[in-house]
């Protein structure tokens, strides 16, 4: 398999106006990934699938990641001259990361038995611009996984054939896999015939029975 840089160059020469970035991965055994411009996502995906050298015909894993707005602290070594002596000082730089949702595709080739190539696409923000192109037309196997991301993260996949909630029920509001999701504390509340419900129910009893109803004695 070619290196990620070679693949990037070939994509950029084959598909003009495509911007790609390579995301480093600090984990030694892990794979670096290609960050795509969302508007060109579908073209790049088709290229990767149909290219004779790559033939990434198998989309193994599709998943979402939530990156809320955060301050990122990075340590940088800096040379400072203190009283005429040059010293190396560690300095912490704070950068603001804008919030976005990210979708990751792990691609393999079943025919050539290589992989994975990791593709990433990012939304503009986490609130109103959460559209990304669906890659289900290229790899059918992404269909349910993209539905799951839509369900749990709220990424809207344009061009998906059947974008509905899949794990949560249709009436559910909110995206439970987002980092800032707070589950309602009365999530499993079920009215049972006790206390205030019993008092409420008394309204519906006929008058003569009403006199006989006594509140339940707790053991």
């Amino acid at each position: 398999l070619e290196t990620l840089e070679q693949i990037k160059l070939r994509i950029e020469s084959a598909l003009p106006l495509t911007k790609l970035d390579i995301l480093p991965n600090e984990c030694p055994a892990g794979e670096r990934s290609l960050v795509l411009d969302a508007s060109r996502g579908l073209d790049v995906a088709k290229f990767l699938r149909d290219d004779a050298q790559l033939k990434l015909d198998y989309c193994s894993n599709v998943t979402g990641i939530d990156w809320p707005e955060a301050k990122i602290k990075t340590k940088v070594k800096k040379k400072v001259v203190v009283e005429g002596v040059e010293k190396e000082v560690e300095e912490t730089i704070e950068t603001l990361r804008s919030g976005h949702l990210e979708v990751v595709y792990h691609l393999y080739s079943m025919e050539l038995k290589h992989g994975p190539i990791v593709l990433r696409m990012r939304t503009a923000n986490r609130t109103d611009q959460t559209h990304l192109p669906s890659l289900t037309p290229v790899w059918r196997g992404a269909e349910f996984q993209e539905r799951e991301i839509y369900d749990l993260y709220g990424v809207i996949f344009d061009g998906h054939p059947d974008l509905r909630r899949i794990l949560m029920w249709d009436e559910f509001v909110g995206f439970p896999m987002r980092r800032d999701y707070v589950a309602p504390d009365d999530f499993e509340y079920e009215p049972t015939p006790h206390d205030e419900v019993l008092v409420e129910a008394k309204k519906h009893y006929p008058v003569e029975v009403k006199a006989e109803v006594k509140p339940e004695v707790k053991a």
Binding site: C27, P28, D57, T63, T127, D128, R164, R165
Partner: protein
């Protein structure tokens, strides 16, 4: 912002049956198969539209067992996810454990001692044996062979679960593997009895095959039903026996050679038509290959440690980075995708569930077949709802 306001869920569209002139000649029947039905192997529902007995539309509905396993994984430590992985595919907890342990080992660069690698292979192949055995039991059960074959299958499965219980303390929720090895060692007596079980297993398979392979009903119900082409199977990300039944030579054990699979001599059985009979035979043949692997592993297992003494389980904090690790579980490719931010719990914990992804083209498999075949087709996919819904 409620994004659903802009995108209402699409309703389930049912068109009336019309003849060429456009007048109605009958009605399509929409039925809900499941969720509480023994043939759905759990709590799973299919919205099926029928034209007479023929399936014209089928939409799987899942999520009844959803507990957001991935969110739980993000909120607990790396080690604490290990027992949770047992609950994904509760038939194959050993391979689930292995997939997770393998991913974390890849993330943190941990080494696994020789003996532990052998024990892992033994456990994984025993898991494959008991999963495929009971799957065939369920499969013929779905075709109407009520009880007897399933009981034969469960008799054998229970023998393997007894071995698991002896080692790990639990029949199904084994929680046996750790990053950098396995939790406890096995003794010589256990190995001797496992050898005995493996030696007898071939005989049981012979018996099973004698009853089933040429069985008239099984042939009538499976041959030519729901054939899949190679292209369809690959494009829909099918994995495991289903993919190989369609003739695609792809087994993660061979492709990635994870663990010590490169040392064993085994073959990858391939189907020709991708129909139900091929899927059934795939399981039988894979069990034969598993027996080969088990024989080699039980013969060669060395003495030594089962846990890397340097591995730190509690307070485990891998360096930042991300990793995707996968194994060949009996259902297909089971993967874990972990992002570490250097903290005590993963930033992102994702499970790639084979049975969930294998039902992506359930509709295509069922279209044009009879409603009775839907149950057999679903049985051949081999889903476990603990994994589908997570």
């Amino acid at each position: 912002v409620n994004t659903f306001a802009t995108m209402p869920p699409k309703s389930f569209e049912v068109k009336p049956k019309l003849d060429e002139s456009g007048s109605s000649i009958g009605e399509l029947l929409e039925i809900s198969m499941g969720p509480h039905h023994p043939s759905t192997h759990g709590v799973f529902r299919m919205d099926v539209v029928l034209d007479g007995e023929k399936v014209v539309k089928l939409k799987p509905v899942c999520g009844y067992l959803h507990r957001n396993h991935e969110k739980i994984g993000e909120n607990i430590s790396y080690l604490a996810s290990m027992p949770y992985t047992d609950r994904l595919d509760y038939f194959c907890s050993m391979t689930n454990n292995w997939a997770y342990a393998l991913t974390i080992e890849k993330l943190a660069g941990l080494a696994v001692p020789e003996r532990a690698e052998y024990i892992r292979v033994i456990m994984a192949e025993l898991t494959r044996l008991q999963n495929h055995t009971s799957l065939i039991g369920f499969f013929v059960h779905d075709m109407g062979a009520l009880g007897t074959p399933l009981m034969y299958a469960f008799r054998e499965r229970e023998k393997i679960l007894d071995l698991f219980e002896e080692v790990s303390g639990a029949r199904m929720m084994c929680n046996y593997m750790r990053f950098g090895g396995v939790r406890v060692d096995v003794n010589d007596d256990w190995i001797a009895r496992t050898k005995q079980l493996v030696a007898n297993y071939g005989g049981f398979l012979d018996e099973f095959e004698t009853f089933l392979n040429q069985n008239e009903i099984l042939l009538a119900r499976t041959q030519g039903v729901s054939p899949l082409t190679k292209e369809q199977a690959i494009n829909a990300s099918l994995t495991g026996p289903l993919l190989r039944a369609a003739g695609v030579n792809y087994d993660v054990r061979k492709v990635d050679k994870y663990g010590i699979y490169s040392r064993f001599d085994f073959k990858v059985p391939l189907g020709e038509h991708g129909d139900l009979y091929d899927r059934y035979m795939m399981r039988v043949l894979e069990m034969r290959e598993s027996i080969k692997i088990l024989n080699q592993a039980l013969r060669d297992i060395p003495a030594g440690l089962v846990m890397d003494p340097k591995a730190k389980l509690r307070g485990f904090r891998p360096k930042p980075g991300e990793v995707y690790g996968r194994v060949e579980s009996p259902k297909g490719e089971l993967g874990f995708y972990i992002i570490s931010d250097g903290g005590p719990n993963p930033y992102r914990y994702r499970v790639r569930p084979p049975s969930f992804i294998n039902i992506t083209i359930l509709e295509d498999m069922c279209l044009g077949h009879r409603v009775a075949d839907v149950i057999v087709i679903l049985g051949s996919v081999d889903i476990v709802l603990g994994e589908v819904d997570r």
